[in-house]
Symmetry: C2
Subunit: 219 residues, 2 copies
DNA sequence: TTAGATACTTAGATTAATCTAACAAATTTG
DNA sequence: CAAATTTGTTAGATTAATCTAAGTATCTAA
């Protein structure tokens, strides 16, 4: 069984591979806030246990087992986040820290009960998919708001970044998942966009923000 | 902040002091399934941090801070057990293992929300008191069933032992907290007692069992 | 009251996870 | 393409928590 530390390495490897492709030792070290020698020796350890493939000076690659193990940790994390929001009254900006701890609990029934109580959710409070009990992940094909056209109407479905600061920024503008956004205009100079939603007055959103909002076109 | 390991030592010291009075290094080592040298060196460490008072070859004594810290860990454990039973559908015989892990989570809000959702309970699913947020413990004066007289009617209020095996034994006989028991007779030879409750036929309970059932007389 | 048993401590080793310093390989760039 | 930079590795130390072996203190009981 993987230690908490090992689980964290697997999770980082999975997430980094997902949004960068190849993962170097330094990517991993940075992501986990450890030194490169530390990451290096842990990768060797993970390799010995069959979770990753690795050759000196080459990128680190999760094996099939490694991917599954990582997905199951992410499953526990995201189920926990959903449970905290839907069942315990936490805000979506408050759940990450707690879920980082609870994801390492070894108690299948605990997470099975969460899953049942939540009605077997497929996404977490930030719109990220929850891997199933076999470690399979449903991939969604959402677009960043920044890639949408003026005049389009879209629904906010997920985020590419779930930092507390960004979530608090969204809270301040009453932006939440499920919201329908009308795109009124785009500023050519800085790629900022003017959008409206609900009965709010129109809002200007910077390019940085628009890149982090994932949407799907309303049919 | 105490590590998980340190929290476990504090908890053991608290529980042992509670039901034995003085706590020796070997009591502690046995209770935590570690060797005496391990317990010895951890006690020195706890002493340096001000959680325990200790002199070579003398019993280990929790300081006021140590008692409070221990009580707060026990609070997290018992709140968790109650949450698992009342909100997540666990049986009282299933919660210990999970609570042993969750008690080490550092997230005040998580436990505050449990407390609120449970309506600020004062006992856990086995009838043990839940320390308050200041680490104070309400003491109950329950009696073991074994000390009661024939003819008395009593209410089952707590247990002195909460091992899975004992809880499953009680489940098998539909014995649960809150139940009213009539004491019909006691066998002089082995101190076993015949009791009835609900609409069940009378049951014979061994001395071992009677010692572990805590009751209060019905007024 | 001292011999034997039990309890406790010290010394030293081990493992997991981390670090810094120093060196080596790979990549980038003038 | 060679120098400079970046990235990765090795070596060796550290810390927390554990162990075993060996020695010492305390207690018990003949």
């Amino acid at each position: 069984m993987a230690s908490s530390t090992e689980e964290n390495y697997l999770k980082s490897l999975f997430n980094l591979a997902n949004d960068q492709g190849e993962v170097s030792i330094s990517d991993l070290a940075q992501n986990l806030h450890v030194s490169m020698p530390t990451a290096n020796s842990m990768v060797k350890n993970l390799q010995k246990q069959g979770w990753v493939g690795y050759e000196k000076y080459k990128p680190v690659i999760l094996t099939q087992e490694g991917k599954k193990a990582a997905a199951l940790v992410i499953r526990k994390h995201r189920l926990t986040e959903m449970f905290l929001v839907k069942k315990m009254g936490f805000g979506w900006e408050e759940v990450h820290e707690v879920a980082e701890q609870i994801e390492h609990i070894h108690a299948p029934k605990f997470f099975e009960r969460m899953d049942e109580m939540l009605g077997f959710p497929t996404i977490d409070p930030h719109g990220s998919p929850i891997p199933d009990a076999q470690g399979r992940i449903q991939e969604f094909s959402y677009l960043p708001l920044s890639s949408c056209k003026v005049g389009q109407e879209v629904q906010l479905t997920a985020l590419t970044n779930s930092s507390t600061e960004f979530l608090e920024f969204l809270n301040g503008r009453a932006l939440r998942l499920g919201l329908n956004l009308k795109i009124h205009s785009r500023e050519a100079y800085d790629q900022s966009m003017v959008v409206s939603y609900d009965d709010h007055p129109s809002q200007t959103l910077s390019e940085k923000v628009c890149e982090r909002l994932l949407v799907r076109a309303i049919s």
